[in-house]
């Protein structure tokens, strides 16, 4: 691929990000997939500069392949009516998604990119799950929206686990390996301050209030995870997390049929993959023990998962990572 890599986005400056987006496009390599992004938006460049700070600054050469091609375009009619400016998202020349306020470019790009990954990346099984790795083995965190999956994934990523994704458990059925889809972790509402308060070093981007999911902010993937974004990990355990106010931590073993349902029927493309997807999920639940984690105390949840990793059969023994 003909790409010019000059530095990381964080050190290059937001102006350079803006310049690339406005010319041939900013190229972002997530590991499993790549993005070419076109836009003329200083506020989007500022936000990208913050949450993609550890990614290489790459300019896509003309004609170079990117799995996902997105353009943030002005929603012109709003200007005529004097209303607040909005932008739309286009992929391969087609408009996708409803318009967003012009200063909410980052949530639009992130949600749009996730949607495109779910539409396009059918060479892997896309489980709706957070995924992190430690000691060479991956933990899958499948959950429905609102369960606290992203918050727990972010906390793990800031506690010595390697972030693979907060949204996609991208399982390659052939290699039985979870592939990183390394994007900023989307945090919502109270979770933003939970992470900001608990982890002083958390690199959070700007907050975007009044989205359809409330206030959202994004955690920049740690530099070590970015550096290893082409390195998969074999799944070793499944934990279904659910945050519930005021409860004592409960960590309960799940039956294989419950784990199967949580993975297969909560996948983006299980039906598309047919028997390949069926066999892949079957293998995951047969090889990976599963638990349900209900918690209100994030530190207690992290400690529970740390103990699990120490006790998991077959785990490489390594010194526990520090915050």
């Amino acid at each position: 691929m003909d790409l010019a890599v000059t530095s990381v986005i964080g050190s290059a400056g937001a102006d350079r990000v803006a310049q690339l987006m406005a010319s041939g496009g900013l190229f972002v390599d997530y590991g499993l997939a790549s993005l070419r992004l076109h836009a003329r938006s200083p506020s989007l460049a500022d936000a990208l500069h913050a949450v993609y700070r550890h990614f290489p600054l790459q300019a896509a050469a003309a004609g170079a392949w990117a799995d996902i091609d997105l353009s943030v375009v002005p929603h012109g009619r709003r200007r005529l009516s004097g209303q607040a400016p909005e932008v739309r998202l286009a992929s391969d020349g087609r408009l996708i998604f409803d318009p967003f306020p012009a200063d909410h470019g980052l949530p639009l790009v992130e949600w749009g990119c996730n949607w495109m990954v779910a539409q396009r990346m059918n060479h892997v099984l896309l489980l709706h799950a957070g995924a992190v790795e430690r000691d060479g083995t991956a933990l899958l965190l499948p959950a429905l929206p609102g369960s606290g999956k992203s918050t727990l994934t972010a906390a793990l990523a800031l506690s010595g686990w390697r972030l693979l994704s907060d949204e996609f458990g991208a399982l390659d059925p052939a290699s039985f390996s979870l592939q990183p889809v390394l994007k900023p972790v989307g945090l919502k509402n109270a979770s933003i301050d939970v992470i900001r308060t608990r982890f002083a070093g958390a690199e959070l981007g700007p907050s975007f209030p009044k989205t359809h999911k409330g206030t959202v902010a994004h955690l920049a993937p740690p530099a070590a995870a970015v550096a290893r974004r082409h390195e998969g990990a074999r799944p070793g355990a499944i934990v279904l997390p659910r945050w519930q106010a005021g409860v004592a931590t409960r960590f309960e073993r799940l039956g294989a049929h419950e784990a199967f349902s949580a993975l297969a029927f909560n996948s983006f493309n299980y039906a598309v993959l047919g028997e390949t997807g069926f066999r892949a999920v079957l293998r995951v639940v047969r090889e990976c023990p599963a638990w349900r984690l209900v918690y209100s105390d994030l530190d207690d949840a992290l400690a529970t998962l740390g103990r699990l990793w120490q006790d998991l059969p077959g785990m490489q023994r390594a010194a526990p990572a520090q915050d």
Partner: protein
């Protein structure tokens, strides 16, 4: 009642349950031991009488065929709806002669 199991049906044990995938319908279903046993007693290449299924399961479990029939009665329709089983007519219909 004659029954045929769907071709290429993948039925797999899954902990205390079972799961099957039908390449024809693309559907996946979690099933219990009884439904899995019913599917095991059927063949994709020839029809099997429901009574034969009850007899075979009764022989395995020590129940009477009548008890097994009662146990299975609620599951046939689910398996048919899921595309795992097809009910065959005992005799093909005879076309009426043209008037």
């Amino acid at each position: 009642m004659l029954l045929v199991r769907a071709a290429s049906l993948a039925v797999e044990p899954l902990g205390e349950s079972w799961v099957f995938f039908s390449p024809l319908s693309g559907e996946t279903h979690l099933i219990n031991d009884t439904s899995a046993a019913m599917l095991e007693c059927l063949d994709a290449s020839r029809p099997t009488a429901a009574d034969s299924v009850y007899l075979e399961i009764a022989g395995l479990t020590g129940s009477t065929p009548a008890e097994v029939a009662r146990m299975c009665s609620g599951y046939w329709s689910s398996l048919v709806e899921a595309g795992a089983v097809r009910v065959m007519l005992a005799q093909p219909p005879i076309p009426s002669e043209p008037a």
